[in-house]
Symmetry: C2
Amino acid sequence: MAAQPIPSRIPVEELTRFAAEAFEKVGLRQRDARAVGELMAEAEMQGSEGHGMMRLPHYVRRIRAGGVNTQPNIRVVEERAAMALVDGDNGMGHLVMKRAAEIAIAKARSAGSAWVGTRMSNHAGPASLYARMPLAEGMVGIYLAVGSANHLPPWGGLDMLLSTNPIAVAIPTEDEPPVVLDMATTIASMGKVKTKMQRGEPLPEGWMVDRDGRPLTDSKRGFEGLLLPIGGYKGYGLSLVFGLLAGTLNGAAMGKDVVDFNADDVATTNTGQAILAIDPAAFGDPGEFRRRVDTVVRDLRASERMPGVDRIWLPGEQSHLKRVANERDGVPIVPALRASLDKLAGELGIPHLHGGRT
Amino acid sequence: MAAQPIPSRIPVEELTRFAAEAFEKVGLRQRDARAVGELMAEAEMQGSEGHGMMRLPHYVRRIRAGGVNTQPNIRVVEERAAMALVDGDNGMGHLVMKRAAEIAIAKARSAGSAWVGTRMSNHAGPASLYARMPLAEGMVGIYLAVGSANHLPPWGGLDMLLSTNPIAVAIPTEDEPPVVLDMATTIASMGKVKTKMQRGEPLPEGWMVDRDGRPLTDSKRGFEGLLLPIGGYKGYGLSLVFGLLAGTLNGAAMGKDVVDFNADDVATTNTGQAILAIDPAAFGDPGEFRRRVDTVVRDLRASERMPGVDRIWLPGEQSHLKRVANERDGVPIVPALRASLDKLAGELGIPHLHGGRT
């Protein structure tokens, strides 16, 4: 009798290997292919499945169609002590944002804080990947991005001129898991909608409405629905200002100019992102800061709970637990995703994903 | 027959005069008293009535009780090219934040961006007052603060360990009103709750719940209710990270340490705030940036509308219209507020508010 194959667990390194081989096959430099593969596997490791391996066939399709530059000259076009503007030359967003984060960290180390924007970038995966990069240096990271397709109208409107424009904030701790908030400014991100679509599951009420304002729960109609912003006009406002800061400020696409990268494999998206790094060492003893954060975390966790609530979670705590488990046991890959990756392997002529079948 | 006195309109300069005289009477330096008065009148001018003159009797009460330092030595305690930490010496929050904003603007002019935090500050009025300060220099302003009383539990919890911790973002435009988002991370701010309390109006459902999770609409019970965060756990996460960045990072109060300044007139609040200024001139032609923002604004405003919607508003547009009208016609002051300011004038022995009675 066959073992239950749903879902199979694949080692993180094997996901990295697979993605890196796919990217190298379609023309990325070996080092770049590996870097993107590592970030996509990390997305899976922390449970961001809507922004992980699921995107690989789509990324490959856009690269093969000429929508993404496989040999980008990613360069700093404006620079001051505490800012830089990075032109990604239409390379993979992961590469552009990794570079932007490195620059922000280096500048924050001397200036105390630094803001780095990108243009001519592309979809880069989950926001928290980049907000987390300053954590490794003991710094705070804040990341903003213009989403890669417009699914949100202005409050009261019908024209989808805005995206789920996310924010991620990562704050270092001493002994607790870092505080990592990663959220779309809509109730649900399109990544979550796409996960439901791929699994054939209905959308929870409150995620989307149709053009008459009625709840839309049929995930097959996900691309025609309007996402709902958090807090009504407040989420609309957050999406707008994050988009102006991550997109318009950098000369990247925003509003009407945003290319729907699901529907269009060829057009340059000119995606914009921004990262802010802040060095707590500039404010005093960074160890004391981290211990004060630990105290706040523990006080919140110890709060009296509403009836029926088992546990108070901190932002990033659930993904931290997934990160630990997935690194140890492998990443759960559902059959539908496995099938699409097998198909991709066949098309590209690279070795199939190993492991996970028992 | 008497003219209808509800509400009377008072010139902005008269509100400034009144507040400045009140503060000088209770011991602030003349220049400081005037500066706080100007900012409180500006709050009224832009329609932030929950954070304007309504707060004056409370501020005066705390000053007279010794809870606020009338002669603060506001000073920079840490500094780098793109950051500063300002110790407010328990002075009025308006003075501390005005200083912090000036420093952020000056540093951003050379470094491209700058982050300035405060500690030992106090309640400073509406968030947008400070986010707007960089606008005058053509810059982007972002402001975060730890609220001055905890009314929000962690998601799923009952202990009120968090506040409405607001964010304001101000973005310059060319011909359009600036984009100015000013929002609590809760559905309603305590300022709005207090305005309802003062007017004896019920709270809209969705603003607050009681400890059993039931909607709380009786504004007389406003101080015992739990505010609801925007987007559920997302608003909880935003309140937490804004509080860690505006409070904990600066060595200011956060979580359990936050003093309820409504209930306690004596304790030092050690309020924390943060402001980020970004100079668009560092990213390219700032005029082009402002015109691109105008384009986004106009595209959003021109969106097709849902049935029953008369107009698409941009963040800050309604307060901009109030600002224009109130500057021209005077600020509407409701009878209950007028009565409390008359009472204050009597107690302090300063001239009553002039004007507005016809």
